[in-house]
Symmetry: D3
Subunit: 222 residues, 6 copies
């Protein structure tokens, strides 16, 4: 039975899960592990508040503990990396590596530019993300983070979402010296190329960054 990498979206949004699935296609290879776009039916419509983040942590643990034996790696597909360390701890006895898209996106960005700019969805998430960057010990590499400030419903308007991302991304580059950008949200891979073109700097899509690192971990058996 070929091994599989489970990319778990901790919210119950179909749109986001589909966006994630789309993001994974380039990493699907004959002879490689399957990439399964998974999600939490019992999760919130979106993971936005700190209570959303902490609320899904143990749901993710239980969900991942129930993953089939073909599970070779887990990616938690939310930019707040909810429950990352709890799931990692829970899967350790099975030897399954667990990666978070925020952690992997930031690490990947560090190899693509010297000063990282992050485009968040909501202003209220920025302090939480900053705590994560501090915990990672990479604060000195952060040029800045700014939010597009759109709610879940507004995000359905793709044109508006992209134009806000471009606006915020360009400001991070021009005013704060970012030379690489990270999309601070899952499920938006479809905007990556346009954003990179408009901002003139490389752009990291977090789910892809994490899935790629998970692919390596799965193949290497670390």
């Amino acid at each position: 039975m070929s091994s599989a990498i489970y990319v778990v979206n901790p919210n119950s949004s179909l749109r986001v899960t589909q966006g994630i699935d789309l993001a994974l296609s380039p990493l699907r290879m004959p002879g490689g592990p399957r990439f399964v776009s998974d999600w939490l039916p019992s999760g919130p419509p979106g993971v936005q508040s700190q209570q959303d983040v902490d609320g899904v942590a143990m749901l993710l643990v239980q969900h991942c503990l129930a993953l089939p034996d073909d599970c070779a790696a887990v990616v938690i597909a939310c930019f707040s990396d909810p429950g990352l360390y709890a799931v990692r701890e829970a899967m350790q006895p099975r030897g399954v590596p667990v990666l978070g898209i925020s952690e992997c996106a930031m690490l990947t960005a560090l190899s693509m530019g010297q000063r990282v700019g992050v485009i968040a969805i909501l202003e209220t998430s920025i302090a939480r993300h900053m705590r994560n960057y501090g915990a990672m010990g990479i604060s000195s590499r952060i040029a800045g983070e700014a939010a597009i400030g759109l709610g879940v419903t507004e995000l359905a308007d793709q044109e508006r979402t992209l134009s806000r991302m471009v606006e915020v991304g360009q400001r991070l580059v021009r005013e704060q010296g970012a030379n690489v950008l990270v999309m601070g949200c899952a499920g938006m891979a479809s905007y990556r190329d346009a954003l990179a073109e408009a901002s003139g700097v490389p752009v990291v899509e977090p789910t892809q960054a994490a899935a790629a690192m998970a692919l390596g971990r799965a193949r290497l058996g670390w």
Copy 2:
């Protein structure tokens, strides 16, 4: 009705809750707020693993949301500061400040010595604590952290517990240059004086440090 500060032990251990209650006595003043030693009957016997930490976060949110109107401040009495930001977010509409004993202990230690040594209970908690120090942006002030390595049952042996704390504390001072020590656990205030005497440096008891800061926040109405 006089206001009250709720010091919530997220585990269900009576011993720890009693230790916390004892630690609060010096802060009880006739004209001051009441200090209520609270705990989670539904919590785990001890908060040790990352799953314990994430598992109590939302229990703490629900517990704190149900606290009576006299609640002037909340202290989360576990050195992993479980659910700190979620509870803080949940209590914000009520204007109730929420403090974590790890956060407050480290901040207090920064005003008592230049290099902070932390005495943990379990080796496995150290990486989690280090992430917290990083999120706080104070990693450069940490001399080191080491564990006494005793399980819940062994902690009942007070003599052994103290002697291990002294041993670890002295090593942090002598070998890693700590000039202030933090007890990385709640409910052990009774060991503070002996530990300070034996190590020759000031010692921060986290629940007392947080309760003191909570007292100020409650009185000032911030």
Copy 3:
């Protein structure tokens, strides 16, 4: 004889000392320690230059050494924390804790927001404050510091002072991402609420932050 906490304003300004005394009222409790607003009659009208700071250090030492036996804690009420370590050293034999309002304000702010903005009075003080934040090892948590740029006489104009503080505070929040503000001066507690309201983020008044921590230290006997 009940114990007392001496809050020492190192300048000779009556206005500032009165502002400090006002700031302490919420911390006065029937069964708690007395808070004594103290000042240096021989100090400069204001502590503004580096020479003012260094010039009052030993005056503070001598003043504090002469404090009565009921002294349970000392707060140095100037945002440059003049002589903090010398007074701490001098009072150590008596076991009296000594706190600085800058140190305590910054530490308290770290528990109220992720990125700290500081409102200074004079541009020339900012580099000195930055050195203090560096010595504290918290530079990565500083969003920025800016000055209202008013001289001693202009500070008497309360309306103008507040409006300048609001202006500078709002800019720190909007342009530099501060989500907590610190008032970089003693004796201005009366502006705190208006500033917090106008800036939309919590505001730390340094003398109150330090007096609250001193209260804890005094009660706990650390």
Copy 4:
């Protein structure tokens, strides 16, 4: 024509190149890019001194500029990341990502443990590596780095090499608190499992870490 990832060993050692080739096998998938173990015939027998590092930089640039059109990514397989930024700059017009094994190994390690210990070959390389970690802004995550102190010829003695690596790795874990280890050299993947078992912490093999990230970059077209 299927795309290929060129893993370039900047020295002329066949042993090292073979070790690298072996390390890549797990990442070879029927439908994935080819992994080509490449090397610099004109390079030094080993890259050990700073002059070796700077001496191969432009050789690597010229070598990589001559890589065939199927080149989808380049990995520079020396733990000093020689010429990394020059090669990156040179390949940018072709849109070919260039990764260094030191950079990628450290980034990968940051997702596997909180404090990173690095096992170097030569004492004289440590300062250079430390400059790289500083340039990466991750110094606060480094537990320590120590050298096994074996010369090129001694490295041929596999038993001795492994036992020295285990010795040094165990000391980094026990005495400096490392909870993940990085092998600070290319071509030693065969020791990884034994080292991980003996040290009790995860071990990052740098060439594999970089090749895995290169695989992702190549497939994603970033």
Copy 5:
């Protein structure tokens, strides 16, 4: 034979070498070492790209190894400090100290202001410089770096060059809080005074900063 300090411009530009020679005059003393303005005839017209930087490293090593016996110290006069560590390593057997103008300029600036602003020539150099500041461990002291964005030919227009430097320098002071400026290029000492006057903060000319430190090292025999 009196000793000499060789200040080596790694590019072949006569204009830059003359600018460097002019910068050295104040350090020439009857009884002191000679200052020799040296350059690489085989170097590029200007060191601008990363390939320029890496391309001159070994040329510098060979050039310096051939310096006469009176060589008491070497200064590498390019703000990217090309080959600094390789030349240092190569000259160590002769006991000749080797200094880089970027390193020395930044170190000197740290003693002249709390927050350093750097004026670069080209935007593309900034990330490279930032890596150097990180390797030096001084990132927290950097207020910002900005480029005047003039090409080699445009730099011949002195009036325009100065006015761009003033413009960029004033912005670093006003908007990013720099209280000392560093000229991020060799051969421009003639602009120093005007720039200092216009920006209102001290300005460090890197070649002079390095030559001064080299003078000390040469005299002290370290």
Copy 6:
């Protein structure tokens, strides 16, 4: 009238002042500025406690304000850099640069090794020095600091002093990875060569490091 550089020892010890004067000889050049070994007759026998440090600050200001017109630069020759910023502020109207030996020694060390070890005289000074390194923003470059633990009288025993310095220095190199050492005290230049030889790494003598930087500043007129 030729210009002069005043190296001011803030204590009243003749031995230390003589040691300083000896240290300056290599920097004395015909045609160069005079180096004047100055001291504070009214200073304490040694600057050891924090009160000593703060106590001499304003004495140094007054002393330096009275220096003759030929004063081209001032060096404060005590490793705690007492009153450095106050004297700098006081001399600014005269355009006289003021340097501290601790600041300059650490900056110079950063150009001589990647990890700095500091040999202090007294254990109680280390925390103060660490605050200075933090204020300088260079904490990540410090390998460690340790004290020889000898009192003023014991320091008269040169053999014992050197052997203790060697012992402590070797430990900093072997156990804490220092690859450059700084002598954390003025007046001990005579031990430098022996210490360098015994420890196998370069050694920075702080008064010489500062006098050399002062020489440059004086000649350049910055």
